[in-house]
Symmetry: C2
Subunit: 265 residues, 2 copies
Amino acid sequence: MKELVFVGLGLNDEKGVSVGGLEEIKTAENVFMEQYTSLMPDFSLQRFEALCGKHVRLVSRCELEEENGKSILEAAEKGKTVFLVPGDPFIATTHVTLRIDAEKNGLKTRIVHGASIISAIVSLSGLHNYKFGKSVTVPFPANFSATPYDVITQNKKTGLHTLCLLDLNAAEKKFLSISEAVTLLLEVEKKKSQGAVTQDTPTVGVARAGSKSPILKADFVKDIVDFNFGEPPYSLIFPGKMHFMEIEALIAFAGAPSQFRRLAR
Amino acid sequence: MKELVFVGLGLNDEKGVSVGGLEEIKTAENVFMEQYTSLMPDFSLQRFEALCGKHVRLVSRCELEEENGKSILEAAEKGKTVFLVPGDPFIATTHVTLRIDAEKNGLKTRIVHGASIISAIVSLSGLHNYKFGKSVTVPFPANFSATPYDVITQNKKTGLHTLCLLDLNAAEKKFLSISEAVTLLLEVEKKKSQGAVTQDTPTVGVARAGSKSPILKADFVKDIVDFNFGEPPYSLIFPGKMHFMEIEALIAFAGAPSQFRRLAR
């Protein structure tokens, strides 16, 4: 059957894929995978191939973005093809074009969803999902702009939390750290003085969301920079207005100092 | 080992759970499950018990909310206990209290994430995740207020998309339909006249996100009310400013009319 099935690998390691996703792989004629849009810290391709009993062909960013995934589309013209993507397949916007091209070529496409880093970070924090506004990526210093600061400011105006993913280059093993990100945001504060990120702003740092040993630490900006989060990847939450139950969650799950109780609104 | 592991069941059926989540169940001494915070349309408890080889004890809303999950906490005091929750375990805020109570009682807690309806709907639509603002639930007429309309209005002011989950009562098999939700929002428009939801507003209806046969239809409000979405559950997206690639995605994946191309910003 000619079809292209996008299967989410979920989080962290080769066991993040769903039982249904694994079945799709086992019945596919061709299996492709990319591992550059997101980092799965404990993923082993060798163990994954043993789990699914298939050869998995890694595709590069170049093959997908410059050659428009031609090899994947050609394989799908011949028989059932699975394309494996970390997390949930379209949370990174990269592969939407490939799906549009497939549909335009008359190929049937389907999605088998996986756990996404976005919902994992929210889940871990205990903060309420419906109180998150727009999310944003904090880029490396070379590409930095005021955008993340502006997003946090805008969300805070309406009491909303902001999820910040910190930039990473999985191929070069470079990761923006939590203290680097906070320092970049404090520099924008100096210029814009909107009060969105000051030394006394409460924040939640998260390392390795979705792994077996995620680290969460809630603290004020001036103290979070000294906390040792261990290995990447990293993210940050800037809470807006917090319900007292959200604060109790941050105390229980993220070691927030008891002064956080004064922040309840 | 005394611990409480929250395992996300992911979406739709008994194969939505991750391979790692299934292993946690197989090695647990006690397995509990709730199925009232979200609907998994094709889930069979019997097939699930066959898959994991364990007896699964269903817990009611009353046991969790009025008795604070006492039975689960008592089981976890004796040995490894898994609590199964549809989707990603804490995207519904219901179980945060149980986790706080467990941690306060000195129990170790862990989360094995699952695919969430939130990221599934975004993924299916092809709209860009980082352009979504605050999400909202549209309640049944008896509990309806202007809040969903206000959230859509607020998001549109800054060009953001709004994800609306439509209310459901899984136990009573009652589901707010897409045309009912749109009609309720149009009534608020009559009073508030902010232009957020008019007959000419573009919208995307989604039925059974995460299932094998999700239905998506993008259209203007005046036309979407006549579309047959089939079986529940339902959700709606009200797009803010759309990039032309997002519009191409809605045309390819959700049958948007070509007039949508004029909406590109």
